[in-house]
Point group: D2
């Protein structure tokens, strides 16, 4: 796997694209386009179209949409509702098959939202906290039907926080596959904290992808991929980088140092060789360490409201949510 032969770790397709692009800003087999939006919100899309491109990018074929908004983690009374609305639009477009049309027509769909990560480790608590703030409707729909709601166009939303392997002894995919078989949602949305390469992206980027999440994502250790094949229904993955691997940050700094020094005997190395040199010098003690901001508690709080609101809008519509019960 790419992961192993190369020290730089990122869960963001955008960062892989940036690293691999040539002078023209392209990678063979990868389509890339950017829509600079209003409010300083930039939306970019990376589509990995071929198996070769997937290998080079170190992640599966599929579509990766990135929402970048620097102010996302700044305190805001309205929790940046404009970004939530944008997120909801993008998410709806990524939902499988005719789901978007069904939602627009007010036809019922059924979604299971999964909060991945470890609630006890602040930068890894994003997924669990998003599920805490979701508007859960499945049990009410099952008991009272849609007429329990003021607005009758309501989907069947369920949510779960499976915990991490050290807490449960089980792979997330084992838990999810079981729950999906029993409760039969139309699709699954996973929410997770991710690792970025660049510290500037921490808390400022949301990635959505229809490929599921790849092994080794986030802080935790989800060894087996969560995707359509393994889970049994389509999986949309939503993530926000909240950490950088310690080894990545150090290797990047050392690589920059080598470049900067323009050392005669190192000058001829290309980026990969420089990274490998850096890696050789890396302390194995950096394994299992991550880098995160001191105010990560505030970021997680803001982001979990922003994302849960985005999911509520995408799945339930932008309406009063008063269940009258």
């Amino acid at each position: 796997m790419m992961e192993e032969s190369y020290p730089i770790r990122t869960d963001l397709a955008l960062e892989s694209q940036e690293r691999l692009k040539n002078d023209r800003g392209t990678v063979r087999g990868v389509r890339f386009f950017e829509e600079p939006g209003e409010d300083g919100v930039v939306v970019s899309t990376v589509v990995i179209e071929t198996e070769n491109a997937a290998k080079a990018m170190g992640r599966p074929r599929g579509t990766y949409v990135t929402i970048e908004a620097p102010e996302m983690i700044e305190e805001d009374e309205g929790y940046h509702r404009n970004i939530s609305v944008r997120l909801a639009e993008i998410l709806r477009k990524m939902l499988p098959g005719r789901t978007e049309q069904d939602l627009n027509k007010g036809l019922e769909v059924s979604a299971l939202v999964v909060g991945l990560g470890n609630r006890e480790v602040t930068p890894d608590a994003l997924g669990p906290r998003v599920v805490d703030n979701l508007f859960i409707t499945r049990h009410i729909m099952n008991e009272f039907g849609k007429y329990a709601f003021v607005d009758e166009d309501v989907s069947r939303v369920s949510g779960i926080v499976p915990g991490v392997m050290a807490q449960t002894g089980m792979e997330c995919v084992e838990i999810l596959r079981g729950v999906v078989k029993e409760t039969k949602p139309d699709f699954v949305i996973t929410v997770d904290a991710l690792a970025a390469r660049n510290v500037r992206r921490l808390g400022r980027t949301i990635q959505l992808t229809d490929t599921g999440i790849t092994p080794g994502s986030g802080i935790g250790n989800h060894r087996n991929a969560l995707n359509t094949e393994s889970v049994g229904v389509p999986v949309i993955s939503l993530g926000v980088p909240t950490v950088v691997d310690a080894a990545t940050i150090v290797a990047d700094a050392m690589s920059a140092l080598i470049t900067e020094l323009s050392l005669s005997d190192l000058r001829q190395l290309d980026e990969r060789e420089r990274q490998e040199l850096a890696r050789e010098l890396l302390s194995p003690q950096l394994n299992g360490l991550f880098v995160t901001p001191k105010n990560i508690d505030d970021s997680i709080k803001q982001l979990s409201f922003l994302i849960s609101e985005g999911l509520n809008i995408a799945l339930l519509g932008n309406k009063e949510r008063d269940n009258g019960i």
Copy 2:
């Protein structure tokens, strides 16, 4: 169902037995025996043997063991290890089939421990907190085998905190059935906060039963029973009363008042009739309210350590737990 025609709610078989027993202290179809142990720990066993007895008692046929120890919730540096050891012995005897012998021989067994209840409501957080403190081994055994452990007689222990229906939109039984199918434990142990009738029992009683848990237990609303039939493998249920239903406490008080007053026009009512009179006068606003002690936070902390230690001893033996990893 009994639940509905009768206002008094208890999850303890011992309390049902006390209520129904005749002058000789017996209920037809119910065996009852008590072993006053050392340390002031009293162990009583209620065996419901017939369908008629099950109806009268309002709970399924099976064995209910109750450990009563007044000091359970008092602060103790060793978290009352003697009670944990006793709990472990009783639990081992209740495990299905040849499990106890297998554990004694050091043969591996595989257990899934389920922390029922709502982590966000203090008296209902017992189950989740017990799972937090469990020694989880399944993932280590799966990856490294038993040789990862100093003592090689180690079982495969997994744990899950499914959440309550208002948080997940799913019944606990749906989640558990799915997880059990995927991960195939030999048996399930559920841990839950229960409702007692008598406030003196709060935090001082542990009930174990091989019948699974009955609908409506605890604070939450687990509408469908968790038992061998519904989950797919044997279910041992462990619970501690942490609340009394508000309607129960009021009805009991009113019934006592009627008795106390020896009112000429009420004197001839039997207990059930007095309860029914009390119930008629009960405010419907008491529904959905529970009674719990002010220091419930300390009790839950103590009890969760005591019980998780009991489970650790029962499943992993009373040995150093150093996984060398």
Copy 3:
């Protein structure tokens, strides 16, 4: 003390007024008026004007304003912003001296908000959770001045969660008096969970008073009053009933039973005598027990947002809060 000679406990002046009022709806020495507002929000004011009235009401002379809104704890995307705005208006009017005018003119005032109660016991966690969600500015003002803020009319807001005596070994008043001496706020606002008499009021009522809080309020045990005399600056107390004392609910039920039965030998008892009879029959085991709703976690979440937003509006104005730092 009134508390001891009478079993019925309430922290709401409104409930004391209801209990004591005569046929004309008045209590001597107590002024009462009600403004039924829009949105179904009812605001009532109880002014205790004489020492005799204070004795009869069991609480100090001063003004008690009650905001009642049944929908307060229902889930709402905007967290019932209309109620927050109303709360802010009422709070501003109650602030000492010229504070309201100063705030209106954009003059700086300095407030310390105190989150009373025990974070670990769900119905008692209201105060701590409100402080978690406050917009704290004192340290930024101290370091950068008001120019750090987009809107320069910003007050100096600080906050503290002192913990309860079982956690700290100290009285709240000891901690507060010390902190007030060192940091010199113009006034203190305490936020606490209260005990009501009537279960219908749980989570639906906000009480504000300029008298400080009386001993024994809420779930905890604040033995010494927090008021201008003991703390050193004016104290405004804000509280929401989240519990009913178990003894209160039982005594009330028993009293109702006696009334209902129209028992010939009890008929001539007045309310106080009926309560006393009920009290004699009350189990001492009810001491230290409280009654609270099963969904108290959701109520506390909603209420803490609603109140912190009210405080933010009252102290910082109804403006964008973007600190540009």
Copy 4:
């Protein structure tokens, strides 16, 4: 200040001593000795004796004792009681004046334990969690006297978790000074998460010092020192490194790279110059970032039990703690 002219940050005097020592392992004005103990627990003492040494070491004159034990964060049923006992012995020796003798004679002393740091950021939650697990006695002693306890040699222990400046708007020293003036403890013990230089020390080292804590310690931003002068009574500081500054880890790695490459044009730089070169190349984005292990939740759990147990033993003796209330 040293802090500013030099990129390497450590809160451990031991690491400063290691960095500055000459060929003979000494620093002028600094005494150093090590007692390799049983159980692989190593105790070293650094005494900074002169103002010059204090400047060179970047920390105040005084005694710094370090307990190193690699297994401290490994899961252990007894929470490494041997280390707690050792910690208690060392702490007692460091207590001011005749406190140790008084404790040995069973004379009452009165201590305030302060849990510094941010409960919401896992690696910074050590101090708050230690206070959660302390045996608090002051309020019981105040109300019932020492006869409330089985063993009558009990000290008056109080505890507080003041929160961090972003949560309170106040400096810790403001809060502490006020609380100390009101409650008059004989001394204060602060517990805090620290920053180490070397990742190997994370979670494996306890530092105790009689100098108070120096500005900028830990993850938070305690701008003003907590020491005898600022707080008003002697301050003993206890800390465990749980993070490394991101800038430190990167600067150290870059410095090692320069050394390793033995670059002809850099070879002649001494360590400080190499560090400065590294620092120049450091991204300013590393400010405000820290490095911590993925399993920091388990470490904090283990460490908080170990340390609170050490404090309980030191202050209350190694006896049954049953308060009979």
